[in-house]
Each structure stands twice: as C-alpha cells, then as structure tokens.
C-alpha cells in the first residue's frame, strides 16, 4: 500500500464527515454527531500516516532530501491545509465540547479536496526545482498553511456569529452572510455535480484534464451552463429567503454569539502573527535569497499583503466604537476570501514570479 491509497481513504472520510456534521446540525441526533467525530478522527489519523508515508516515499525515490516534508506543490499544500484545518477544528471541538462548528468548517476541507479531484492536478511526487530547495521556503509554506487554516476556522465561526446575530432579510450583514453561505453551497453542489457526471455515471474523457465545473457552469451545452447560473442564483436566493431558520438551529447548540466572537478572535490572533512571520517575512527572506529582491509587488506578494491588511483591519476595527460584533465578523469572512484568492486565485487567474517556468 502506498500513501495515495490512504490519502484516498482520508478524502472519502472527510467527505462523509462533512455530510455527517451537516446531518447532525439539522437532526441534532447525538449518535450522528458521535459518528461524525469518529469518522473525522479516523480520517485524520489516516491522513497523518499517509503524509509520513509520502515523505518517506519522496526520500526513497531519491527525489527529495530527507529534510523536505511533502508540502512543495499545489496538491501537497492543499492536502496540508486540510490537515491543519481538521486538526484546528478537532482542537476546538474538544476544547469547547461542541460539534456544531463541524458543519461550517468541514465543508472547507471538502471544497479543498473536491478542488484537487476536479482540476486533475498532478499528485505525483515531483523533484524540487533549484529555487524551491530552500529552508526559508519550507518554513514559509508550512507557517502559511497553518495560518490559512486558522483563518479558515475563523471564517466558519464568523459565519456562525453572523447567523446568530441577524434575522432581518434587509439587513446588510444578513444579506452578506446568506450570499457567502449561498456561494459556498453552490460551489459544493457544482463540484458534487462534476463528481457525479465524470466519476460515477461516466469515466472522465482521457483528454479532459480538469473537469471543474464542466458539468455545470462550463458545460459544453449552453443550455446547461445557463441553467446552472440560474440554479446558482436560485440557491443563493433560497439561502437568503430561509437563512434565518439557521439561527435557531445554531442557537440550539448552546453556542453563544459571545463565544463565537471569542473563537473567531482567538483563531485570528494565532493566525495573524504566524502569517506575518511565515507568509510575509519568511517569504520575503526566501525571495531575497533566491532572487535578490525581498519584495517585488508581484501578484502573489501583493495579495498576501492585501490579506494581511484585511486582518490588520479586523484587529484594529475591534478597537473602534460601534465596530464590535457584526461588522468585524464580516471582515473576518472577507479575510478568508482574500486568503483563498491569494492561494488559488493568483495561481489560476493571475500570473507572477510564483508560477515557475524555467530559470532561463
């Protein structure tokens, strides 16, 4: 058995636990909750073993030195993000003895894992290009993903906070969280549709590398694509229309708004210094060592600065009168959107120094 088998098991496990946590939130059956925790812990253990196996495999194949953990390409870093996120989540679940957070945090892991599958990114253990053989880079990547996962946690709890604190459908904060949650649901559904179409019902055509959204928005058939957009709008509208019902659901789990605000702040209070050190400072030192420029305003750097400013905004806004509560929770949600864009948007949509072609 090699690491990929265990990674596959962990992926399926996390998908199941996401479903279980959401079921638990709605049904409030203790057994379902216990099952969700059980599946999550088991998947986490499987992933941890897989991570170590992949580490050893890379070393044994002579592609990487012993001191290089497998977190060097897009696939490995997303997997590592999921690992940190789940670890952080489990800490919160056991610390606060409350499973309601799971329904809002495990979908983020689910999205990341589905993204890996749908885009068909390479899962091979690749040798490292010269620029990537750096301890600063290693520290940069590791700490960045630890920070990203704490930001992911704060995203989930900030969303829950907004759910608890709003009910009027015309309220800006209500509209904001229902649209955010709606988009999240749409993304999950669209990826689920991709999975159904290209994995379950038919095999993926050989030449199609990425089938992300090919079953829906990017379908070959214009009608399907159009219907998907309409469907997406309908889902968002539905979440907006009936979102207030979630308030009672969340409130029934004894998570007070004060607790949610506190957890959000704590996650960011850990994430912000780690991100500053790992994401910005170590990244700058690495760039300085490799290229002789510690800061060059390339899109990746600029977006991590934007992310940093959003969280700086969050921390300072808490000190301002009239900004506690709803408004800062909105900022925490926006911060994670910036994180996702920094990591994926820049790679997918914008170009820069970080898209390594060749050295020449």
């Amino acid at each position: 058995m090699d690491s990929s088998v265990l990674f596959g098991i962990a992926t399926i496990g996390y998908m199941l636990s996401m479903v279980a946590y959401i079921t638990y939130l709605v049904s409030r059956k203790e057994q379902v909750g216990a099952a969700a925790t059980g599946i999550t812990v088991a998947s986490f253990i499987a992933q941890t073993i897989a991570f170590m196996m992949r580490w050893v495999e890379g070393y044994e194949m002579g592609l990487r030195s012993f001191w290089r953990p497998p977190i060097s390409n897009l696939y490995e870093s997303l997997i590592f993000f999921v690992w940190c996120l789940i670890l952080g989540y489990l800490i919160i679940e056991f610390r606060y003895r409350n499973r309601s957070f799971g329904a809002f945090i495990t979908p983020l892991a689910g999205l990341a894992l589905a993204f890996i599958e749908m885009t068909g990114m390479s899962k091979e253990i690749q040798p490292l290009l010269p620029a990537l053989q750096s301890n600063w880079l290693l520290a940069h990547v590791t700490l960045s993903f630890i920070a990203y996962s704490t930001f992911g946690l704060s995203f989930g709890t900030a969303l829950m906070y907004l759910i608890e604190k709003t009910e009027k459908r015309t309220e800006p904060a209500y509209i904001f969280w229902t649209v955010s949650l709606g988009v999240l649901v749409v993304l999950l559904l669209a990826m689920g549709a991709d999975f159904m179409k290209f994995h379950v019902l038919a095999s993926t055509p050989e030449e199609m590398k990425s089938y992300l959204f090919r079953a829906t928005f990017k379908s070959d058939s214009g009608a399907v694509s159009l219907a998907s957009w309409a469907g997406a709008a309908a889902v968002v509208a539905l979440v907006w229309r009936y979102g207030y019902l979630l308030k009672r659901v969340v409130a029934s789990f004894n998570v007070t708004a004060g607790l949610l605000d506190d957890v959000t702040y704590k996650a960011i209070a850990v994430g912000f210094p780690v991100f500053t050190l790992g994401g910005l400072i170590f990244g700058a030192i690495w760039a300085d060592q490799a290229w002789g420029v510690y800061w060059s305003w390339d899109p990746k750097e600029t977006w991590s600065l934007i992310t940093w400013l959003v969280y700086a905004f969050y921390l300072h806004a808490r000190l301002m009168r009239g900004w506690k509560g709803r408004k800062v929770a909105v900022v925490a949600v926006v911060g994670f959107v910036a994180v996702v864009f920094t990591y994926l948007g820049v790679n997918l949509l914008l170009s820069g120094l970080h898209s390594y072609g060749s050295l020449g």
């Binding site: 010269p130 290229w291 000190l319 301002m320 050295l359």
Partner: protein, 474 residues
C-alpha cells in the same frame, strides 16, 4: 462645558492619531493594490492593451489605456498617489503611536499599588476563601502561593488588622503593539534607503571570462570596483530527466589583480562581496563560442589523464598508439526511433562529443560519448574516454544587488516578530490578595485582572485558590 475650539494642527494630529484613519488607509491600500495584480506592471504596452480589450471591448480599450496610463496604473506601486498612501500610512503609524505612547508607557512601567476599597468592584476576576488562623499567620502561605505562580508580592497593612498583598507581571507587554508599529517604520525606512541608494543589475559572464561591471536599469552600467571571474557554470539534472536539480556557478572575486575569494553560487546561495550580492539568475550558451572539451582519458593499463582539446584537435590515449580526433559536438543529443541522432535543445542538457579513433593512420572506430551516460565512455577496446565538460561556451547570468537598506528590513522583521509575539501571546497580569480578620479565621479575597486572554489567567487563579482552600476549613 463647551469644548475649546481646536486649532488646525491639533485637528490634523487627532485625525492622524485615530484608529479610524488607520483602518481607512488599510482599506484604501488593499483595494488599490488589487489593480496592480490585474494589470501587468512595467509590461510592454501591447500586453496591457490586449487585456483592456478583453475587459472593455475594442472600442473603449484605447481610451481606457490612456486613462490608466495617466493614473499610473501600469507602474502603480511607484505612482505618486500610491506612494502618498504609503506615506500617509507611515505618518498615521508614527503619530498614533506617539499619541498613545505616554499613557501606555505609564501603564507599562507604573508599579502596582494596593487596591482602594471602592475599586474592588471593578476588578474582573474575584475569588473568596476562608483560611484558618489570623491574617498575619497565613501571610507566608499566601506569599508562597503567589510566588508559585510567579508573582512576587508587595505588602501593605490596613487599619483593622488585615492587609493586602499585590503583584503584577508583564507590564511591558502593553508595549507589544508599539514595538510592532515601530518595526513597520523600520522596514519602510530600509525599503526607502534601498530605493534611493541601492542598485539592481544584471551581469552575464562567460566561462573563463572576467567582468567588473553590471548592467543597471535602461542599459546603464555600474562599475563594481572589483572583478568577478566565472570559472565554470554547470547544470545538474535529476537522474535521467531534463528536470534541473542544481544551477551552479564557480566564481572568483578578483581585486587589484589578486584573487580574494572563491565561491560556488547556487540558487538560494548567493555570493556576497564588497556590499554587492550576486544571485544565480539564468544561464545560456554563448553563440559561436569555441570552447574546450575536457576529457578524462584512461588507457586500459595506465592511469587517467585529463586533457583539453578544441573541436577538430586530436589526443593520444596514454599507453597506446590510439589517436582520438574530436569531430562533432551536440549540446543535447537524442536518438529518434530509427536510431538517427539529433540535437533536441540548444542548451547543454545532454552534451555529447563525436570522436574518431585511429591507430597508425587506420580508422578503428568512432562514436558519440555522452557526458550523462557513463556506458558510452568505455570504448570497444576497453579504454575509457569520459566527457567531463565542454568548457568556455556557457555564460552564467548573475543578478547583482546592492541594498544598503536590507539590514534594516531584516532588523524590522525581527522586531515585528518580537512585537507580535508580545502583543498576541503575552499579557499584563495583576493580582491583589485582600486579607481581613474574621474571628479566628482570615477572609481572603483574591482579585485579579489580565488585559488579554483572561480565561487562561482565571484558570490559574482558580488553581491557586483551590490549592489554598485544600488546607482551609472554610
């Protein structure tokens, strides 16, 4: 009471000292920064015109381009308005810190005072416990308990036979925020010094050649005051693939005709000398250059010798009469399905040399010898010819930088790390223990506060109280 009308200077000061202004600047810098991640910075105009055509359509693109250009969007991080935002940000940081510092400094350095009775209600953590024995008898126990959680207690008696113990820790941690603010100023200062007094350039050096200047912006040249010789450039690949593993330049620094330093430069391992830093940036083949084939030749019986020959030259395998003549070279030799050889790259990915061997004027054999394939080194008669290098035809491209501000950037980064750790992970904790007489017992009230992470401190206080009451009868 009517507030006294403030002067203009005061009002500007107040604006710059406000958190609101800071937050607005965060937002402005973050939002405007996005522009420069979409529009390619410092690119050829055609490129961005193409982008604008896609965004705004063919008809609007030219005017959009002119508008964007006049706003400096094509090089926005250097534009007057973006730099102004950064200057405002720095001013805000300095003024708001100066504005708050005196008060925070007092809080941080002030020795803790006993609590006046009317203040006790405002302390957030409060625990009570009854201990056996009069106040003076339990004092030592209380002091020990406090010192067990790291607090050295002060003592102040009150009128009715009781007293107060009080202590604080981590007052200086209130400065964490200001240390962080200071670090940003230090980093910005380093960046400004780098912009005004630094140099960024490029220096290609052919193997075996020496250069003493670098190309700066717009093809200007800057003399270094010393010279660098490239002794060798080499790419190492992963196994049999074309995936580069190491780019390596062997460099020698020459000052006043003397070799003063040798260093192997790799990506992530630059050469530093004379205030300049040299980074491995790129490499290539020099067109029409004549180099030396470095061959390691070992006769079947004799020992190995290393020889240098140019294309068309000959050598003798030691201990034999066999003469090898170098006839052809390929930087990247490959074979097609029919067994015909061809060159698949003009870079030295798989260098190979074609050598004809003869003995006494009679041709014996000929073939390709590939550097990366040791099996091709052994000749049919058991002699070995290894291709070590084709030297003198590659150049190494070095990125040259002089940045007298970089140490400030690093210093600022260090200060920032320290400041953030203090600001987020440490807190100012205060504790007061009020002890009063209650018959033959002492009534002990523990009051405590922490400016951050109060729950953690509360747990500590709980532990302290339960340890105390373990020996009490209350």
């Amino acid at each position: 009471m009517v507030e006294r009308k403030k002067g203009l200077v005061d009002r500007i000061w107040d604006l710059f000292a406000s958190v609101k202004f800071a937050v607005v600047l965060f937002l402005l810098i973050a939002l405007t920064s996005i522009i420069g991640t979409v529009i390619e910075q410092g690119a050829e105009p055609e490129k961005n015109l193409m982008l604008l055509k896609r965004l705004f359509g063919d008809s609007l693109a030219p005017s959009a381009f002119r508008l964007f250009e006049s706003l400096g969007f094509m090089d926005m991080y250097r534009s007057w308005w973006f730099v102004s935002l950064l200057v405002l940000f720095a001013a805000n940081l300095i003024i708001c810190s100066l504005d708050r510092l005196p008060r925070i400094w007092r809080l941080a350095t002030e020795p803790i005072k006993p609590l006046s009775p009317r203040m006790t209600g405002s302390v957030p953590i409060r625990r009570e416990v009854r201990l056996k024995g009069p106040p003076e008898a339990v004092r030592e126990r209380l002091e020990e308990a406090l010192s067990s959680i790291g607090f050295k207690a002060g003592y102040s008696p009150d009128e009715d036979g009781g007293y107060q113990l009080y202590s604080q820790k981590g007052g200086y941690t209130r400065l964490g925020v200001y240390i962080t603010h200071l670090s940003i100023i230090v980093i910005m200062l380093g960046a400004v010094i780098g912009i005004f007094f630094g140099f960024k350039g490029y220096m290609p050096i052919q193997e075996g050649y020496t250069a003493d200047f670098a190309y700066g912006r717009d093809d200007t040249t800057q003399s270094l005051g010393f010279a660098i010789r490239c002794d060798d450039f080499d790419v190492e690949f992963y196994d049999m693939s074309d995936m580069p593993k190491v780019f390596r330049s062997r460099l020698t620094v020459i000052r006043d005709g003397r070799e003063v330093m040798k260093k192997v430069v790799e990506v992530n391992s630059p050469l530093r000398y004379g205030g300049y830093t040299f980074y491995q940036s790129n490499y290539g083949m020099v067109p029409d250059a004549d180099g030396y084939f470095i061959l390691k030749v070992r006769g079947r019986t004799g020992k190995a010798v290393t020889i240098n020959r140019m294309l068309g030259e000959s050598f003798v395998i030691p201990g034999t009469e066999i003469v090898g003549t170098i006839r052809d070279f390929s930087p990247a030799l490959a074979m097609d399905d029919s067994g015909k050889t061809f060159t698949y790259s003009n870079m030295m990915n798989n260098p190979a040399v074609y050598i004809e061997f003869s003995e006494g004027g009679k041709e014996r054999y000929a073939g390709w010898i590939l550097r990366r394939f040791p099996s091709t080194w052994r000749l049919p008669d058991g002699n070995v010819v290894e291709l070590v290098d084709y030297w003198g035809v590659q150049y190494t491209g070095l990125q040259v930088r002089k940045d007298p501000g970089v140490w400030l950037v690093y210093l600022g980064s260090g200060i920032m790390t320290l400041g953030l750790c203090i600001a987020f992970f440490m807190s100012h904790r205060r504790v007061w223990v009020l002890v009063g007489r209650e018959g033959r017992h002492s009534a002990v009230t523990v009051l405590a506060s922490a400016n951050k992470n109060r729950q953690a401190f509360e747990r500590k206080i709980d532990k302290l109280v339960s340890a105390l009451s373990g020996g009490s009868d209350g």
